[in-house]
């Protein structure tokens, strides 16, 4: 078993209003960053996962997303596994 560093990114579903992203975008425009568009704010989680392989670590992390870390109604997620 190896401890894999797993990064989970959870984002509000693209079709849904993201008021936090909008507020950040407005603030960036106010600061003169006029080139910015479509800002969205999500969550970034770091986990150490004990697993026999990278694939197993990724599968377990996806299961964690399905059960708890992301809400399938409102959020999308992706999982990246670092080296053990």
């Amino acid at each position: 078993m190896t401890a894999y560093r797993v990064e989970v990114r959870v984002m509000p579903r693209a079709a849904l209003l993201d008021p936090q992203g909008q507020a950040v975008e407005h603030a960036l425009h106010a600061l003169g960053f006029g080139e910015v568009a479509r800002v969205r704010v999500g969550k970034h989680l770091l986990l150490d996962v004990e697993a026999a392989s990278r694939d197993e670590a990724a599968a377990r992390a996806r299961a964690m997303c399905d059960r708890l870390l992301a809400n399938p109604v409102t959020e999308d997620f992706d999982v990246a596994v670092g080296t053990g």
């Binding site: 008021p19 936090q20 809400n71 109604v73 409102t74």
Partner: protein, 236 residues
């Protein structure tokens, strides 16, 4: 007198108001701690408002795994009435007992003020004493109150008369179709974002929320009348 279990999570803060409102309506109301799994023969289960687990991760996301929730789900599956108010509504959505979810208010800010909702359905255990079309003034106090569901689910809710309350005058949080509260397909599980327990007497600014709790009692009375008739029939 219906037995009403008010579930207390770490971070619930409307549990005492909810208990008092249920008792004022003539219910035998009592608390059930979230680690308990015995609902003590509850007729009705209420998940009160608050900030269970500090709203960490997502509102209601952690509370839905509390030990009591398996019993709440079993009660709901057996057709038992369940009401989720505010954070309770969020927990019911997270638990999959109601469709959709609740996201950050469209204008970002936490809102604590009166709101107005129209009663859209009286065919639930918590609205039977209202009239369809009645407008109620009820307080809201939420940061994550924007009800969202995919278009298919929203169409199902509308077609099935499952939108129970809808915001009127203005939509405080940007919810889909001005939805303030819904019920499940079985009509026994109901969620509402505003707080009926905070508006159940003139001294609290008005009585508009009281019939949510009186409806529980009325349902119980009707149920008992049916039971008595059934017993009478069997004796004939």
């Amino acid at each position: 007198m219906p037995r009403v279990a008010v579930v207390v999570f770490p971070g619930s803060n409307c549990d005492a108001d909810t208990l008092a409102a249920a008792r004022a309506a003539g219910c035998d109301a009592y608390y059930v701690w979230h680690r308990d799994t015995d609902l003590q023969r509850a007729d009705v289960v209420v998940l009160p408002g608050g900030f269970s687990y500090g709203d960490y991760l997502r509102s209601g996301a952690i509370a839905r795994f509390s030990p009591v929730m398996a019993s709440v789900a079993a009660h709901a599956r057996a057709g038992g009435p369940v009401l989720g108010i505010c954070n309770g509504f969020q927990i019911l959505c997270e638990a999959g007992l109601l469709p959709g979810g609740l996201m950050r208010n469209a204008r970002q800010r936490f809102l604590s003020r009166p709101a107005w909702v129209r009663v859209e359905s009286t065919d639930t255990p918590f609205t039977r004493l209202y009239q369809v079309g009645e407008v109620l003034e009820l307080p809201i106090a939420h940061g994550d109150g924007r009800y969202v569901a995919d278009p298919g689910t929203t169409a199902e809710l509308e077609a099935g008369d499952r939108v129970v309350w809808r915001y009127v005058r203005d939509n405080p949080n940007g919810s889909t179709n001005e939805i303030a509260g819904i019920c499940n397909a079985g009509r026994n599980v109901v969620g509402i974002m505003p707080h009926p327990e905070r508006r159940n007497a003139p001294v609290l600014g008005g009585p508009d929320g009281a019939r949510v709790f009186l409806s529980m009692e009325a349902r119980n009375a009707t149920q008992h009348a049916v039971d008595v008739r059934a017993v009478g029939d069997s004796r004939v």
